[in-house]
Symmetry: C2
Subunit: 250 residues, 2 copies
């Protein structure tokens, strides 16, 4: 089976590496950025091209969401499988007379960082069972966390990630505003943050909740509301405390 | 210098252990829970009592916020230093004719978990410089992150911890509601969560922000708002996205 990876960014690099580590041969990496392709090619010994897309059985499109449709049109072959790697696009975004699929790794990739691919969840979707099994098998060689999921389900996966990662990072930003204003080094809070994440590996987050709201400690809640002098911080403070009280029926 | 630790819970245990590891001798652990005291005593070879508080130069009160005042009255000695370990109480909560102080480790302690004490921030406060230096020295033997901070500053420390830990945990709870409803295992999100925390060790959280709001991706924001069918989730979703847009002036 001939496999071509399209793209030269972080997703293309890491998936090429993950496939390579599992002895799944990649015939070509194809893209526009010659320098980036050359780097992948020389590290993993995969041929690359910026102009001639090789004939293959499986094309894996690893480009930005905005470019997926355009790139998918480059594949003129009919009897082949094409998958994109986006969490927020349906497989129907792909334009061509081939079998369409999605192969979505839930992780932020950066070029320099080494990742333990075995823990990265993969969500796969195909038009027929044979392709689905094929994609599942590829994903399961790389990772222990593989799930079939359609576009509808991927939306919820993305939403969960927004709450548990994007929003969490924003809370770190707002927390740092508070500590910066008091000249308290924000890195002092990192051990406690790590502990917060460590805990939910062993216990449901709902059972791990601590802090003034879940204790219904109105003295502290009032002190804090008076301390905060930023509108957005205050809105977040009130909204999340209300949500905590609702969750625990306080 | 004779040191007595009052309390038999997790803070008492871990601070006894941290002092012991730095060869700072503790003369007694004192408290009500004989079994817990016995455990500390046998592990660290420190005498314990439930009835007779030893004469000492420094008493470290490691009990719940609600009990600090009552416990502080047990110390009838005059020429000594007494510190509580609470982040949200002033040192004046202590009732007695002794020198009052606070010695606050910013960490969630659990009995079973081994902790790297060297990274735990300690915030200390005393009535005079001599005591302050003494407490700083103790803290600096244990940890590399030590800061003098009064009650006013401790309030902001606590507030920062609420945003970066308590609220973060609540976002995990809400995220898990979403993934549970779709039968997506929540542990699939742990690698991404770890990556989110890992990132802010090297880069400002404000610069690490990703997700639809910071990209001002109205398509995704609308999709998500339609997906959410819980009032509290929706309030959080809107509030934090608004806050992100304000922060990045979108």
């Amino acid at each position: 089976m001939k496999i071509v990876i399209i793209g030269s960014g972080n997703v293309a690099y890491h998936l090429s590496k993950a496939f390579d580590a599992e002895k799944i041969e990649i015939s070509q990496v194809f893209g526009r950025n010659e320098k980036a392709l050359e780097a992948i090619s020389s590290e993993l010994g995969i041929p690359f091209s910026t102009s001639e897309l090789q004939d293959a059985d499986f094309y894996l499109i690893c480009v930005n969401d905005d470019s997926v449709r355009e790139v998918s049109k480059l594949i003129t072959k009919k009897n082949c499988l094409v998958a994109h790697t986006s969490g927020s696009l349906p497989k129907e975004i792909l334009e061509g007379n081939y079998r369409k699929a999605s192969f979505y790794p839930l992780q932020t990739f950066s070029k320099t960082k080494r990742l333990d691919y075995g823990k990265i969840p993969f969500f796969v979707e195909a038009e027929n069972q044979e392709d689905e099994i094929l994609l599942k098998n590829f994903a399961e060689k790389i990772s222990e966390n593989v799930m079939v999921s359609n576009y509808e389900k991927r939306k919820y996966i993305h939403l969960t990630a927004v709450f548990s990662c994007n929003f969490v990072n924003h809370l770190f930003s707002r927390a740092k505003e508070i500590s910066d204003a008091q000249e308290i080094p924000f890195h002092y809070f990192l051990p406690l943050i790590e502990e917060t994440v460590e805990k939910i590996h062993n216990i449901e987050p709902k059972l791990a909740q601590t802090g003034p709201a879940v204790r219904n400690d109105t003295r502290i809640l009032e002190i804090h509301e008076k301390l905060i002098n930023d509108d957005e911080q205050l809105k977040i403070y009130k909204t999340i405390n209300e949500s905590i009280k609702k969750m625990y029926e306080l």
